[in-house]
Amino acid sequence: MLVQGERRRLDPETAGDHIDRLFRAACALCGSRQLAEDLVQETYVKVLARPRFLRRDDDLGYLIKALRNTWYSHLRNERIRRESTSSPDHEPDELPARSATGDPESSLEASAVLDALADLPQPYREAVAAVDVAGLSYAEAARALGVRQGTIMSRLYRGREQVAQAVGQA
């Protein structure tokens, strides 16, 4: 337990305990198991490259925030790549995979949920990924995503609403 204002170093060994939750959150963000693995690995490489100091006992929240930054970097790079490539035969490879459909390791139900997540507006998807998929509290998710707790709750409500409708129709 940390006293307010105190800083603690992120333990590289225990950081690895969050791989599964980070992986699920990455799947929720990008919709692709393969890309999620890349994002999680890249996140760990960046985070563990140098000592990190946290103000709270919130390792997972910190990692989710880093994962989100990695995801944004990926989207930026893909956008630049698309804009600089005129050849249409490169297009399918450049777009982030939206769906887990076709991935033999994912169940049909998981695929349907990931498809529904992929259709959410980004802010809703991030809130749902942080709270319902990664398991952060509202307060932790608010810190990780840089918004107020009430905003997380509203986005969560609306994101879930859309997921329920999409999964119900699937």
């Binding site: 690895g16 599964d20 690995q41 890249e42 139900e109 998981a110 998929v133 509202y138 879930r160």
Partner: protein, 259 residues
């Protein structure tokens, strides 16, 4: 949600509380009050049912990181050194010695550790000396390898044809380079024998297709380096961008190209 979605208007405060009620984080008087409202309103009950259905589906997602990903991340994690109390002066002396050793390594990049990645990438400026054929047993590989690590055949998948090979000795290591050409552009792919060479400081870590790479620029040349079966691989080109190099370097040929 608004009426445009086919659901009656629910105010934002109630939306937030329904979200909390669905995942069990609403407590006390607020919970009792909302439960009473839900009991009296089919619209709220439907909204709560949808929230609960989504929570169940999302929290029940059966997705686990693969053993391969765990291994790669474990390899990334530095081992925690034993914690011992040291006199500040001893730490300072040790730190100075470590810094001196590091400086020596940086100033003299070649030696027992083999060539640097940058030195290896500069082999791309040299000409091919011998032809290289496609592996007769596997058309996704070339008939050239370093300590059992084969070069890929990119022609079928990407149109890049092999345009020759050369072998060099760099600081006691064998470095074989295969040159690939496509549309007037050229790529050099070098595999270095012996233990893996660390990526240059300042290079950018990036992961593609489950493989961890480092990319950098050396003059006007893009360079990507990574390890395959513990051997250092370096692809470089003055004509090809980093994204395309990464796409080629990470190609596994449906498992035919060992990593």
């Amino acid at each position: 949600m608004g009426p445009e979605n086919g659901h009656p208007e629910i105010d934002e405060r109630t939306e937030r509380q329904l979200a909390q009620l669905a995942d069990g984080s609403l407590e006390g008087w607020d919970r009792a009050e909302l439960e009473a409202s839900v009991a009296a309103s089919p619209a709220l009950r439907d909204a709560l049912d949808r929230q609960c259905a989504a929570v169940g589906a999302l929290r029940g997602l059966d997705l686990q990181a693969s053993p391969a990903l765990r291994e790669r991340i474990a390899a990334t994690s530095p081992s925690r050194p034993p914690r011992r109390r040291r006199l500040v002066i001893r730490s300072a002396v040790a730190g100075a010695m470590a810094a001196a050793a590091l400086a020596a390594v940086l100033i003299i990049p070649s030696g027992d550790g083999g060539p640097t990645v940058t030195e290896t990438a500069r082999l791309s400026e040299r000409p091919a000396t011998d032809p290289v054929a496609v592996d007769s047993g596997n058309d996704r590989l070339l008939a050239a390898n370093v300590e059992g690590v084969p070069f890929p055949n990119w022609r079928g998948e990407f149109g890049w044809r092999q345009a020759g090979t050369r072998a060099d000795e760099l600081n006691g290591r064998t470095a074989r380079t295969v040159f690939y050409e496509h549309g007037g552009r050229r790529i050099a792919y070098t595999i270095v024998s012996g233990e893996g060479i660390p990526a240059p400081k300042g290079s950018r870590p990036v992961t593609r297709n489950g493989v961890h790479f480092h990319s950098l620029a050396d003059g006007g040349r893009k360079v990507v380096t990574w390890w395959r079966d513990g051997r250092t691989c370096v692809v470089s080109s003055a004509d090809v961008g980093g994204h395309e190099l990464l796409a080629l370097a990470s190609w596994k040929g449906d498992g035919a190209v060992p990593f």
